[in-house]
């Protein structure tokens, strides 16, 4: 943004719209909303240049609650709308709010393409492993055996792993956070600072249809043991600094080691291979959180705009000349009457 107008100082309150928030009491969405509203004043962006775009689902009501521009679109298609918005006005700061069903089921195709194109935007995927707004059916991230109104005997299909999907699609920024965790604003800031499509999976608790589905790593008593918060250039340590993650070189897989093991990995967000391993650590491992992967690349809208400018260079926008192009001929006078 090259606007000379200074960005006014704001507080979280300035980013909250006057609309009544209509999520279920206790929904994790409230915590994410608060985290975003608390983060915005620190990002040096203007409210009028900020656009929240969503699809359909509980999370997709999010834009109504932000005192910015907002577009609540149709199911799964928010990335496509965002692409048009950003190509039309690259100065806008675009946030996409989506859920596991919205982004990975009906909108899987658009999620893949916005990531591979690397449109400059922040994608916050609220993963609650369930369809909330339609009353509790299993979702593409639900674990095998999830009992729901549509799968009364348990789901049989294996879930998609959102961050693995993002990496596979060519994402250049992949991060994870937890709705109620104090680190979420830091993750959001990192996502915003990254130029390109920043993919953030937020574990979000649905109190009504899938309560405590992430309790195995979010509950206070297991958090230390089950959360690995990654920091650039820092050792991959967890369990209060007692354990670490190292590479099992023979199996080309990760392993849990003691903290003083010299093989404990240093987090290099640019290491794509390790990122693939981090996002899919099996049972017995902690949940990798924070910025898992970041390796900037040119953004889609910049490439398009540069190419448009290069192609237009030196060519006047002469409409009369355009319509008169090609092989033409002159009729001097009417040859004969009908």
């Amino acid at each position: 943004m090259n606007d000379a107008t200074p960005i006014p100082t704001t507080t979280a309150k300035d980013w909250a719209s006057d609309q009544e928030v209509r999520w279920c009491p206790g929904c994790g969405d409230y915590a994410v909303l608060k985290a975003v509203q608390r983060t915005m004043p620190d990002l040096a962006v203007a409210r009028e240049k900020t656009v929240f775009i969503s699809g359909i689902g509980c999370s997709s009501r999010f834009p109504y609650y932000m005192a910015t521009y907002g577009f609540h679109t149709i199911h799964g298609r928010a990335p496509a709308f965002a692409t048009g918005v950003k190509l039309a006005n690259p100065e806008l700061d675009v946030w996409i709010i989506t859920g596991d069903g919205d982004a990975l089921s009906i909108g899987g195709n658009h999620s893949m393409h916005i990531l591979r194109r690397n449109l400059d935007c922040q994608i916050l995927l609220f993963n609650n492993e369930i369809y909330g707004l339609t009353k509790g059916q299993y979702s593409p991230t639900s674990r095998v055996g999830t009992r729901s109104p549509s799968t009364p005997f348990g789901s049989v299909d294996r879930p998609v792993q959102p961050c693995a999907f993002a990496l596979g699609s060519g994402a250049r920024f992949v991060a994870r956070g937890i709705d109620v965790h104090k680190n979420l604003p830091d993750v959001l800031k990192a996502a915003h600072a990254h130029r390109g499509a920043s993919f953030v999976e937020i574990f979000q608790n649905c109190v009504v249809y899938n309560d405590d589905v992430f309790a195995s790593f979010t509950e206070r008593d297991v958090a230390a043991e089950k959360q690995l918060w990654l920091q650039r250039g820092e050792k991959m340590l967890f369990a209060g600094g007692a354990k670490g993650i190292a590479l099992d070189r023979e199996r080309l897989a990760l392993k849990v080691v003691e903290a003083d093991d010299p093989d404990v990995l240093i987090h290099d967000p640019k290491n794509r291979s390790i990122a693939h391993m981090l996002v899919e650590m099996p049972d017995g491992f902690p949940m990798a959180l924070g910025v898992l992967y970041e390796d900037p690349a040119p953004t889609f809208e910049t490439a398009v705009i540069e190419q448009n400018a290069a192609a237009a260079k030196g060519k006047p926008a002469d409409l009369q000349a355009l319509v008169s192009k090609g092989q033409t001929w002159m009729v001097e006078k009417e040859p004969h009457k009908l």
Binding site: A80, G84, N89, L92
Partner: protein
């Protein structure tokens, strides 16, 4: 040496003199370059000052197996010294490059017409592939036509021998040989084609030279070979035309130009989101090259993303346009509903093709009218405009831009496969004659204590266009029903009723801002009116003109604004005794007219993938009047 199977006398041969217009059909294998031949023949025809209309008729397969009937590609052109509005009912001349091309096209040639065949391709194998038991050039099965055949393949090989091309490459010059012959037949200048070949093969000069040699050889063959009566040179005088600068355009070209012009007149940049689909893709190809006009083209991952990105661009302050054909439009429909709901400008171009489903991808039809007018969930009115010809598509595109931006509404612009691919001469418009309709973005923040009103109503019930980035006007829009004025979520019965009524009234109100319906020819209140829309204009117009010349009491009404219709349309139609609606579907516009005006409209339908013939409409006129 050429041999005419049936030598006709001079008198017989000129019994049906193509005095004013000639219909020529080039037909060959899809790899024979017939579309290219036809295109260049079209250009030379235009440069000679003849009026013309073309009909490219090609298979859906890019290269169907050689020599098969389903791989036949044809290009028909009707040209003459009079006003030409159709590609012609029946070819006067058929140039058949192989047995399959003859098989598929001979029956369309008028009795006594001329068939030129490349006997070099009439091998036993090719005859079998085309389903001929005996060589039709050697029996009497083609007796009702004049048939001339010679070995075009060999003559081409001979003519390009000096250039040392391989056999396959040398044979690819066959189409230029044929074109040379056609240019001789109609006394045409070869120079524009020579210039074009030099540009086309700039990187392979030997190919340019070989093709030019083939072109010249074909021309010389016509000039020097005595083939007798059927094979003589024709000269058609230039057609009457208003003085001015002319060029040829296809519908896809003029549509692209019209959209560019519309955006320039509106003073907005264009965002064109599209996904490849036949026959709509050429529009994307044309626009992708015009970046200097502030155009962004985006080949999306699918039809849905294409329209969604276009809506996103409109939301951000450009004019979003998307383009497809029936099946793609079906995919876009949910997003189109969002554009109706959020009241954003958008243009959806539908190049209609035969359906349902994949249907006939390369063949024309008008069967998406219901889809355009009625084809969405809920009450979601969208203005619908339909182009009647390649040249008319230019003005229709400008009108679509005007309505979309002025009324903050999506607009459906209908064209079809025939218009998209067909070419006609076009008098280059004087752009200074088009009144600009600049858009204005609303940027006045509300007074202290007042709310932003994105759904306030202005002229024609349009809502303000507020670009994100405008300070003090931050607001949220979406697909959920909203409160009038503020646009805040509001499911209340009163809000939904009022918003539905308003959206409906806004679109219907556009009828106050379009010209009254006129009569093309014939008198108001005649015994019969033939009502058309879209690409049936040409054959209907010609049929009605002929009927009028025969003293019949007929009129022709052609409707551009399908929805909303011109205000006087109902009263106008009720003044005629009979209403006949020819259309390339099973009677969709007929149903709409009956629904809207309770008129006893009768259908003439055709869904063969080919445009109407004048004779078919003429017969229906006679039947309606009897």
């Amino acid at each position: 040496m050429a041999t005419a199977t049936h030598q006709l006398t001079e008198k017989e041969a000129t019994a049906h003199p193509p005095a004013e217009a000639v219909v020529v059909r080039f037909a060959g294998d899809s790899g024979d370059g017939m579309q290219l031949t036809g295109g260049q023949f079209t250009l030379s025809t235009a440069l000679a000052g003849n009026d013309l209309a073309t009909f490219p008729d090609f298979p859906a397969e890019i290269r169907a197996p050689q020599g098969t009937t389903f791989g036949v590609s044809a290009f028909q052109i009707n040209f003459g010294s009079t006003a030409i509005e159709t590609a012609g009912d029946q070819p006067d001349v058929l140039i058949a490059m192989n047995p399959a091309a003859l098989k598929m096209n001979a029956d369309q040639v008028r009795e006594g017409g001329l068939i030129i065949a490349d006997e070099g391709e009439f091998s036993a194998r090719n005859l079998a592939k085309a389903g001929y038991e005996a060589n039709p050039l050697e029996d009497s099965s083609l007796a009702k036509w004049q048939v001339v055949h010679f070995n075009i393949s060999q003559l081409t090989l001979d003519s390009v021998k000096p250039f040392g091309l391989g056999n396959k490459e040398a044979l690819r010059c066959k189409n230029m040989w044929t074109l040379g012959l056609a240019l001789w037949m109609f006394d045409r200048d070869r120079q524009p084609i020579v210039d074009w070949l030099k540009v086309k093969f700039a990187k392979a000069p030997e190919l340019a030279e070989a093709n030019i040699a083939a072109l010249n050889a074909g021309h010389a063959y016509g000039e020097t070979t005595e083939m007798g009566a059927p094979f003589k040179q024709h000269h058609l005088a230039a057609a009457p035309a208003e003085p001015g600068l002319y060029r040829t355009v296809t519908g896809a070209e003029s549509l692209a130009l019209g959209l560019v012009a519309g955006c320039q007149l509106a003073g907005v940049n264009m965002f064109f989101g599209s996904y490849p689909i036949t026959p709509a893709s050429p529009l994307l190809h044309h626009l992708a090259r015009l970046k200097e006009f502030g155009i962004t083209t985006f080949q999306a991952e699918d039809e849905i993303a294409a329209i969604c990105a276009a809506i996103g661009a409109s939301y951000a302050g450009q004019l979003g346009i998307t383009s497809s054909s029936g099946p793609g439009i079906a995919l876009k429909t949910e997003a189109l509903g969002l554009a109706v709901m959020t009241e954003l400008p958008l243009i959806v171009v539908n190049s209609q093709r035969g359906g349902p489903s994949t249907g006939l991808p390369t063949k024309t039809e008008q069967s998406d009218l219901y889809q355009a007018v009625y084809g969405r969930n809920a009450d979601s009115p969208v203005p619908v405009i339909s182009a009647r010809s390649p040249a008319d598509a230019f003005d229709c595109a400008i009108e679509a831009c005007r309505i979309a931006t002025h009324y903050m509404t999506p607009v459906m612009l209908l064209t079809d496969g025939y218009i998209a691919n067909a070419a006609e001469p076009w008098k280059v418009p004087d752009m200074s004659g088009y009144a600009p309709f600049p858009v204005s973005f609303f940027d006045t923040p509300p007074a202290e204590g007042e709310q932003v009103m994105p759904y306030a109503r202005g002229d024609g019930l349009a809502r303000p266009w507020i670009k994100p980035g405008t300070p003090g006007l931050e607001h949220r829009i979406g697909g959920i029903e909203k409160a009038p004025g503020t646009g805040n979520i509001d499911y209340s019965p009163a809000a939904h009723q009022e918003m539905t009524d308003t959206r409906f009234a806004k679109v219907l109100g556009i009828a106050n801002d379009i010209p009254d319906q006129d009569i093309c020819i014939g008198r108001e209140g005649a015994d019969l009116v033939v009502v058309g829309w879209g690409s049936t204009f040409g054959p209907i117009h010609q049929a009605v003109r002929r009927a009028l010349a025969q003293g019949k009491d007929v009129a022709h009404v052609h409707v551009r604004h399908i929805w909303p219709a011109p205000k006087n349309l109902g009263d106008l139609l009720k003044g005629f005794n009979h209403v006949l609606v020819p259309e390339m579907n099973m009677g969709q516009y007929k149903t709409l007219l009956r629904d809207q005006y309770l008129v006893d409209a009768q259908s003439l339908t055709k869904v063969s993938g080919h445009p109407f013939r004048i004779a078919e409409i003429a017969a229906a006129i006679d039947k309606a009047l009897s």
